[in-house]
């Protein structure tokens, strides 16, 4: 399993960073030229838009993709056609990388009953990005920093005072949500940015974001190899870990740092909804199988990968936003697994 994850990362990251700097420009170039790339199956390029086509409907709101022409039967050779476009390849790689990061972290989030912490961190990361948009300064970096700071603060008993943990996180969530809206309202493009942040906008992922996601996924891969068992052990029974001489506080700090970074890195590419979906749904689906931990992790990774590819394909075919499509497919997978598990136990 570990080898598979690392191999996938090593294969995906270089593939992800090939191509133009600006994906939107590339997308427009593809549409203008009327050619798709990499149609190896049929040995010739597809013609997406017939000559003279003027109207250009959208794939995700403001993104110009010639939707009605994709539905011409003569042009739909296979479902792989959707993934012959560079913007779809970038979206798929970004989704798979973010999905891998968030699913791995999500397994611990669900097991340690930190789901509310995760949504609060995602919201804080959104607020950091919104601040970056407002200031015109490094939204991704500000999103990551905000999530890491909130992740550390979430564990502070001194800051929490007499409040229960859920209320503490609720305040983070509310504060960050309000700030994100206020920042975006002042940024001039508030409404569109806000919608993008919620839905995610995988199809306009930039090369730098892919690199960042790739590095974060590599970091998660290394953490998996070096500390998965220790993290499980101290999550299950921290006191026994301390008695055994393990530096539980250090592992905990590393986990919360990884959680803040992972969510912060993923949020700008995927949006709040999809990041939260990647954190909660695959791990929950895996746990419903009743398998042992390695099996749970394998199923969770499978669910996120399948849902990313299938969800993006549905979004492409149905002219729908990508994030909600992926979340819906993940939920369908979860329901199918739940039904299969209940049949198996009968």
């Amino acid at each position: 399993m570990k080898t598979c994850v690392l191999l996938a990362l090593l294969l995906l990251v270089p593939a992800a960073v090939q191509g133009e700097e600006d994906p939107l420009a590339a997308l427009e170039q593809q549409i203008e030229s009327g050619e798709s790339r990499g149609d190896h199956e049929h040995g010739h390029p597809h013609h997406l838009a017939p000559p003279g086509a003027e109207e250009v409907p959208t794939f995700v709101h403001e993104r110009p993709v010639p939707h009605e022409h994709r539905h011409l039967p003569a042009q739909r050779h296979s479902w792989l056609e959707a993934f012959s476009f560079e913007f779809m390849q970038r979206a798929t790689v970004a989704g798979l990388l973010a999905g891998t990061i968030c699913t791995w972290l999500g397994l611990f989030v669900v097991l340690r009953r930190l789901v509310f912490v995760a949504i609060a961190l995602a919201q804080v990361a959104s607020a950091g990005i919104a601040l970056g948009v407002l200031l015109g300064f490094q939204p991704t970096a500000l999103g990551m920093l905000s999530a890491v700071a909130a992740s550390i603060a979430s564990g502070s008993k001194r800051l929490r005072g007499r409040l229960p943990g859920e209320a503490h996180m609720g305040l983070f969530y509310l504060g960050a949500g309000a700030l994100a809206i206020l920042f975006l309202a002042r940024s001039g493009t508030g409404e569109a940015e806000q919608l993008e942040m919620l839905n995610g906008n995988l199809i306009v992922v930039r090369e730098t974001q892919l690199w960042t996601l790739g590095l974060a996924a590599l970091g998660i891969g290394l953490l998996h190899i070096s500390g998965f068992r220790q993290l499980v052990a101290i999550s299950f029974d921290p006191v026994s870990g301390i008695v055994a001489g393990v530096r539980v506080w250090a592992w905990d700090a590393l986990f919360f740092l990884a959680l803040g970074l992972g969510i912060g890195v993923s949020i700008q590419s995927c949006g709040l909804l999809l990041v939260f979906g990647y954190v909660v749904i695959p791990a929950s689906a895996g746990l419903l199988t009743g398998f042992r931990l390695p099996g749970v992790l394998a199923v969770a990774m499978g669910v996120q990968a399948l849902a990313t590819v299938a969800g993006l394909w549905v979004a492409y075919e149905g002219d729908l936003p990508g994030g909600p499509c992926i979340v819906t497919v993940m939920l369908i997978c979860l329901v199918v697994i739940r039904l299969a598990a209940s049949f198996r136990t009968r």
Binding site: R113, V239, I242, A244
Partner: protein, 221 residues
């Protein structure tokens, strides 16, 4: 409180709910730092800890063997050669339940799994926190028989419980925790009606029946 625990000693920490037994235990384990006083611990002492099974979350998809292996791996990371997992499972009578999920085990079986995990480090000192809490009588007897056997093999035992009758017949030394105070001494010195009255605030008396001590409420209490 001034307690010295020597090799092969059996100490029962007992007191009513909320008296501070678990806090004292966490201090002894080094999980909490003590505000006053000092706890000296022999360097490189191998300690096995058996937590309350209710403190552990059943949501973790772990089998009995996974949990014992967890202790094995933690021990390995702490530069001590751990015991063989199968041998330890066999020792606590769980050789046939190694692949069973922890969540699906009975209370007594769960306690055996946690005991096995503690034994995997071949402990010189075994610390048990409420090991029989919520168990039925046969399971309680079986667990205590296991602990007694481990004690006979030369291990030091610290048993934390709120059940007076449990320590009355197993531990040679007691630490009575109650009302913000700890009184420590031999079992025979401390198991008296007056001492217990001070700790529990209710009239208790100690009876002897067939060589066993039984603590019961006094009729006038």
């Amino acid at each position: 409180m001034n307690v010295e625990l020597l090799r092969g000693d059996y100490l029962g920490i007992v007191g009513p709910n909320g008296a501070g037994k678990s806090t004292l235990l966490l201090g002894m384990l080094g999980v909490l730092s003590v505000q006053e006083g000092v706890i000296h611990r022999q360097p490189d002492l191998r300690v096995g800890y058996v937590p309350q099974r209710t403190a552990l979350d059943d949501i973790f998809p772990l089998t009995a063997r996974d949990i014992v292996r967890m202790g094995h791996e933690l021990a390995a990371s702490c530069s001590h050669a751990p015991e063989d997992i199968e041998r330890v499972l066999n020792r606590v009578g769980l050789e046939k339940l190694g692949d069973r999920r922890f969540a699906e085990l009975s209370g007594g079986q769960k306690q055996r799994v946690l005991l096995a995990r503690a034994l995997v480090v071949d402990p010189e000192l075994l610390i048990l926190d409420e090991p029989t809490n919520g168990l039925d009588f046969p399971s309680e007897i079986a667990i205590m028989a296991l602990v007694d056997e481990l004690h006979r093999q030369g291990r030091s035992i610290v048993l934390v419980t709120h059940q007076l009758n449990l320590v009355a017949n197993h531990a040679a030394h007691l630490a009575l925790v109650g009302d913000g105070r700890v009184v420590a001494g031999s079992r025979d010195d401390l198991l008296s009606g007056d001492r217990l009255m001070n700790v529990y605030g209710t009239g208790l008396k100690v009876l002897e029946m067939e060589g066993k001590k039984i603590v019961v409420p006094r009729a006038d209490s």
